[in-house]
């Protein structure tokens, strides 16, 4: 159905007094729990009707939203949604509340409410979103973790989506450093998805904040993840893309960042790597290339006691390990390593494994590469 012309535009923010009374608040809670109506439509509806209660009445009357929405709106009470939120250990945050972040209002499809666990999200702080491939490489995961760690120790809050891969690694890095981090979920605030991230999400709720625009109980579904990305970006002042293969969620995040005027950073990779496709394309389109946390912090104007990159092995290595480490300029087959280091294959393999045990080298799909960090000083990699 084509949208009426007068609905093509809605002001930013929300109408005066939106969700300002208890009745309004409850109406907003019901609106926030609707699944069939897009945030954009809901936002326009609220402007047209002028309040949450009247917008809800329109849905209940079937003038807006799907038939399922109408039934849901009739069957659901706002008080119950808010109660379930409290039961899940979360807060129900409307645009009327102090905690609703101003930066989220910049979206032209802002969420009608947010569900928040953990620390308040209206604190004054620098926030950086770190996103990238879920199926990232080991190196990509390590880069994300390092970024999280360095941002965390520099007092920057790391925002991401708690998904596998780059998301999870950047959160973990921030937690490693005792820094703040915000996870924006693509499911109900009480749904730990992906399952393997359930523990991570619990830890983030303790040390940072977990945010969702979805009411308790809403399952994770693929279409919610792109929508989630807009909140990740809106909460942040800059976006870093670590790895991404061509059609990816990272691209969507970048589009949001450009719409909102956020700065975009990208970590490059080899031109032959499929996972470097998105970052390299972004750099070509004008995103700022960063080689790691140092570049990022410098560009953000944050100075921290400098970390060196690691061109040299950080500890005194036995001769053959040193030779092997030095010859590992790129992911290499063991026989290539043996040739470069002038060792027999079994000796080269043995040296590689000893380096791996030191945390200086790892194997990826049959090839060996240096780890990013130099190993010993990094906990938990």
């Amino acid at each position: 159905m084509p949208e009426p012309v007068e609905e093509a535009f809605a002001p930013t923010g929300w109408p005066d007094g939106f969700a300002g009374t208890l009745e309004e608040r409850r109406a907003a809670a019901v609106l926030a729990s609707l699944r069939g109506i897009s945030p954009r439509k809901l936002h326009r509806l609220c402007w047209r009707e002028g309040s949450a209660s009247r917008a809800l009445a329109a849905v209940r009357a079937g003038r807006e939203g799907s038939e399922a929405d109408r039934e849901h709106a009739l069957a659901t009470s706002g008080a119950a949604v808010i109660e379930a939120t409290t039961a899940a250990g979360a807060r129900f945050v409307t645009p009327h509340d102090q905690e609703y972040p101003g930066s989220v209002l910049e979206l032209d499809d802002p969420p009608v409410a947010l569900f928040v666990r953990g620390a308040r999200i209206d604190v004054a702080e620098v926030r950086v979103a770190v996103v990238g491939a879920r199926r990232c490489s080991s190196l990509g995961g390590e880069i994300a973790r390092d970024l999280g760690r360095r941002l965390g120790s520099a007092g920057v809050c790391v925002v991401s989506g708690a998904a596998y891969g780059v998301d999870a690694s950047s959160h973990r890095g921030a937690l490693d450093a005792g820094g703040r981090t915000i996870a924006v979920l693509g499911s109900g605030i009480d749904v730990g998805y992906p399952r393997s991230s359930a523990d991570l999400i619990a830890r983030i709720a303790q040390a940072g904040s977990v945010v969702s625009e979805y009411a308790p109980g809403v399952p994770a579904e693929p279409h919610r993840f792109p929508a989630r990305n807009r909140i990740v970006v809106a909460l942040s002042s800059a976006l870093v893309v670590v790895e991404g293969a061509a059609p990816s969620g990272s691209r969507i995040s970048v589009d949001h960042a450009l719409d909102l005027g956020r700065e975009v950073f990208a970590v490059p990779g080899p031109v032959t790597s499929p996972l470097a496709e998105v970052p390299l394309a972004l750099i070509r389109d004008g995103a700022t290339m960063i080689r790691g946390a140092d570049d990022l912090l410098e560009d953000l104007g944050i100075t921290v006691p400098g970390h060196d990159r690691h061109p040299d092995p950080p500890i005194d290595l036995p001769e053959d390990e040193h030779r092997v480490w030095t010859s590992l300029a790129e992911p290499s087959l063991p026989d290539a390593v043996a040739r470069a280091a002038v060792l027999t294959l079994p000796d080269a393999v043995a040296a590689l494994i000893r380096l791996e045990l030191r945390g200086l080298v790892r194997s990826t799909g049959g090839r060996y590469e240096r780890t990013l960090s130099g190993g010993a000083d990094v906990p938990g990699v």
């Binding site: 879920r134 000796d347 045990l357 790892r362």
Partner: protein
Amino acid sequence: MYGRVVAVTVLGVGGHLVTVEAFVGRGLPSLVFTGLPGASVNDARDRVRPAVESVGLEWPLRRVVVNLAPASLRKDGPGLDLPVAVGVLVATRQVPSAAVVGYAFAGELSLKGELLPTPGILSVAIAAARAGLNGVVIPAANALEAAQIGSLRIVGAATLAEVAGFLRGTWHPPAVDPAVAAYAEASKVDLEEVRGQAQARRALEVAAAGGHNMLMVGPPGAGKTMLARRLATILPELSREEALEATQLHSVAGLLRERGVLTSRPFRAPHHSISLAGLLGGGSTSLRPGEVSLAHHGVLFLDELTEFRRDALEGLRQPLEDGRVVVTRAAGSVEFPARFTLVAAANPCPCGFDGDQRKHCRCRLDRLELYRQKLSGPLLDRIDLRLRVPRLTKQELLGSERGERSDIVRDRVREARERQRHRFASIGVTCNAHLAGPLVRRHARLTGHAEELLASAVETLALTGRGFDRALKVARTVADLAGASDIEVDHLAEALSYREGFGEGSVARAG
């Protein structure tokens, strides 16, 4: 009107002597079997008479009763056609009864009276020799395999007429030279032909030297099949006993054709759609050895391991553990030897490109998890060597060297095996792979530095108890290849490089 002939029925892989008695008496022309004939023996009823008449011999137009003794033993297989026919010829005085004494008869007959190639003749010959008989009368096509049993006189006949001629003293069988037409199943391949994949070639050598099973994980086109095929070429040569055992299984399965003894180790690569009976042995009418037994003393290669039926993979546990399979059917239960080296190959993920340098894997994570779960557990526990076999880039291929020749590698393997035999002489184990838990720790002595490395590996790599034993076993083999009495630090380190097929380039460790 009575005749008596010795035959052999093959149950599983073993031959059992059967006395075939034929009695020709009054009554309507008919042929009746007694003495627990199997379905295939009953088949012979309508086959034997035309065969006899086709070659100009006479079938009595009377009631013929054929008894197979002992009656407690189930008789199966087409090999009983010939003894039944000869029994009738003796009973009807067409051949002298004294001439059949000291011989065992076996062979399938065609309606024209030809003797057709028959499975299991080697087992027949072995049973006949064990029973102290002088010779066997068998199809000419099977003469080479029977000739492997040196103490027997081999009468290889092409037709029933020749058999009758032999018994009457009018036809003399040609001499058989057991050395000709040896049975080399594997086509001539050599490790030398493999370019690149040096680590995988080395792993093959370690697998051969220690008798270890092996898993290769890599994307399509990495060369997993090519590598696996060459493992058979670097295993030590078959001993005479091993060759006979393996040949016997191939004979029973009817794969021998007109060849003699196996001279190279078998390499079997069943497709993943294989049935349980096809893989482990069995079958509805007669019990045939499965692929695990055809790979006895050789290599069983399972490509696309994750695609095999779950029950088939579960069924591999017994042969991997005991070196034999017991197949039980309504018809009875038989045991087949099945001591093989398992080489398995799998893609790293459903699409095959996880961890690849050039192509991005797009498998959904939950599917990836399911895929890997298929391979977890008891079967994987019995695979000591696991490695990733990457798809090589053009540059890597061009920059790499060809492999060593198989015979050079085999010499090292033989020496390493010799050391193991010597070390384990007292405990009845032939190679490191067969060491059980506590024995591993006793026989795999580490130097001080190696102890330290092992301690750090246990911590850093979170080695499990089984992983620990596997690493020790493989390290022991690497040390044997190097001729070292104790396991040194580099031996252990190399062993640790063969510890995981999956898990890299994957998400699990990225976080």
